[in-house]
């Protein structure tokens, strides 16, 4: 095409490929919640592939209650200036103006997150209209494909943030991957019906079935507290791990952060997992996920 003297294609920004591509570069990595530039440096020094800038980690949101919103732009900019790795930040479900503000600040990824108080109980953000990519949480395949249909370029399990209990993340990863295994052997007639049942667009159901995996990168999140938790999620087939409260709510954040980074790389090497699990000090105090607690994972539609 360039041989006949045509203009070369101009640089295209904000395309699906560059949005999904950044998530591909984060694979096999750990994304850590941080609330200050100092914590962001600790995370970067430990080998985090990216940081999530927020005002309160989920464990504190859970204890303190109230409305949890997008973080202060000053605080996000402080973290952007402190590190060279990508910086993510959270917007409330459906709060597209918070997302516009985060895009203007230059964050590298927006997490439309159930950890914050939802701003809209019917609609998620239309993510196609943004140049910045979005990551969203899911509990099952239908929810994942609805988010991808709205423009999400990366998925994560919802898990149950701020608990230090990995059980919900395991449930969600098993649900998504189990459903993908089931649709992989369905014929076209069955796929039409299945798409209706899980309230997901048929074309995405078919694409997922033929790929044998989600069409975007899928991380674990919500309740990961130890190197073993992180490796468990990797062996269950996720592409990488978010650790929220688990690091900076523990006794020795720097050491735990390093250990979890190593556990995600060497997730199949039990000897290395044993070594990195030694002497990490106190893990975050866990809160069991019980029916009486506030279940953040149920937010999102």
């Amino acid at each position: 095409m360039a041989t006949n003297g045509q203009q070369p294609t101009p640089n295209a920004t904000g395309t699906d490929k560059v949005k999904r591509g950044l998530a591909q570069m984060l694979k096999g990595g750990v994304i850590m919640d941080v609330v200050t530039p100092e914590q962001a440096k600790v995370a970067e020094d430990a080998g985090a592939a990216a940081v999530m800038a927020l005002e309160r980690v989920p464990a504190d949101i859970r204890v303190q209650g109230g409305v949890a919103r997008m973080s202060d732009p000053d605080m996000i900019e402080g973290i952007i200036e402190a590190v060279s790795i990508p910086v993510m930040a959270k917007a409330r479900i459906g709060h597209f103006v918070e997302a516009q503000i985060l895009e203007a600040l230059g964050v590298d990824y927006i997490d439309e997150s159930e950890v914050l108080t939802p701003a809209d109980e019917e609609h998620h953000i239309n993510k196609w209209g943004f140049s910045v990519p979005f990551v969203c949480g899911c509990r099952n395949l239908g929810e994942a494909l609805r988010r991808i249909n709205e423009g999400a370029a990366m998925m994560r399990t919802k898990g149950e943030a701020g608990t230090g209990d990995v059980v919900e993340a395991v449930r969600h990863a098993r649900a998504v991957n189990g459903e993908i295994r089931r649709i992989s052997c369905m014929d076209e007639d069955e796929l039409y019906t299945y798409a209706k049942e899980i309230r997901a667009p048929y074309n995405l159901v078919r694409e997922t079935a033929s790929l044998g995996r989600l069409p975007v990168v899928n991380f674990a999140a919500g309740g990961v507290a130890t190197p073993a938790d992180a490796a468990l999620m990797m062996q269950l087939g996720v592409d990488g791990v978010f650790v929220g409260s688990g690091i900076f709510k523990s006794g020795n954040p720097a050491q735990r952060a390093k250990a979890i980074v190593k556990a995600v790389t060497h997730f199949q090497d039990a000897q290395i997992l044993a070594d990195v699990s030694r002497n990490l000090g106190e893990a975050m105090v866990g809160i069991n996920v019980t029916p009486d607690e506030v279940i953040l994972g149920k937010r999102g539609w």
Partner: protein, 195 residues
């Protein structure tokens, strides 16, 4: 022919798949002993700080330097940073194998990431569709280095120094096998020369 893909963090599976499509066996490398018996190595895109720290923690820096001194090695994006001799004031472990100066995140933040068509003479007339994600650029090369591709504004985004190759973009995110084929060609030539 066996080609390793450094699998510490990042888009290593995408490289494995490209090599498989070329009929080449790809070996994931996470520990020094896994470098043995490889004929070439790809260092993938990812976060260069993360890859550097994991390489240090598991004693991979020196073995990787020795490998790159003797055998074909190709770095894409983070891998280019890792291979460079000079990355400015950034404090992070690098191999320093190529006589190039690299500027990290040279285009800005993620919203500035882009795709474009590049002219790469070594690959023929058909342009190469290149995906740049928070990409670096080469700001200076020594005379030992050949420039393979530049952006329209002249900035250098692909270089070769004998058996070493570095690209600021991600051929593994496209369907175009030509650069992987080109690298396999370097590996083949090196194997024949050493026979």
């Amino acid at each position: 022919m066996k080609i390793g893909v450094l699998a510490l963090q990042g888009a290593f599976i995408e490289h494995n798949k490209m090599l498989a499509r070329l009929g080449v066996t790809a070996v994931e490398v996470r520990l020094p002993q896994q470098l043995a018996e490889l004929d070439g190595l790809i260092i993938p895109g990812g976060e260069s700080t993360t890859i550097g720290k994991l390489a240090s923690a598991y004693g991979l820096i020196e073995p990787l330097r020795q490998f790159a001194a003797a055998k074909p090695t190709w770095g894409t994006c983070a891998g280019m940073i890792f291979l460079a001799k000079d990355i400015g004031s950034q404090q992070q472990p690098i191999l320093g194998s190529m006589d190039i100066t690299v500027d990290r995140n040279a285009f800005g933040r993620q919203i500035d990431s882009f795709e474009t068509d590049l002219k790469i003479a070594e690959l023929g007339d058909q342009p190469f569709h290149a995906v740049f994600i928070r990409a670096p650029v080469v700001t200076a090369v020594e005379t030992t280095v050949d420039v393979l591709a530049r952006l329209d504004d002249g900035r250098i985004v692909a270089v070769r120094q004998r058996h070493l190759l570095a690209t600021a973009f991600h051929p593994e995110l496209t369907d175009d096998l030509r650069l992987h084929g080109y690298f396999c060609g370097i590996v083949k030539c090196t194997l024949q020369a050493n026979r």
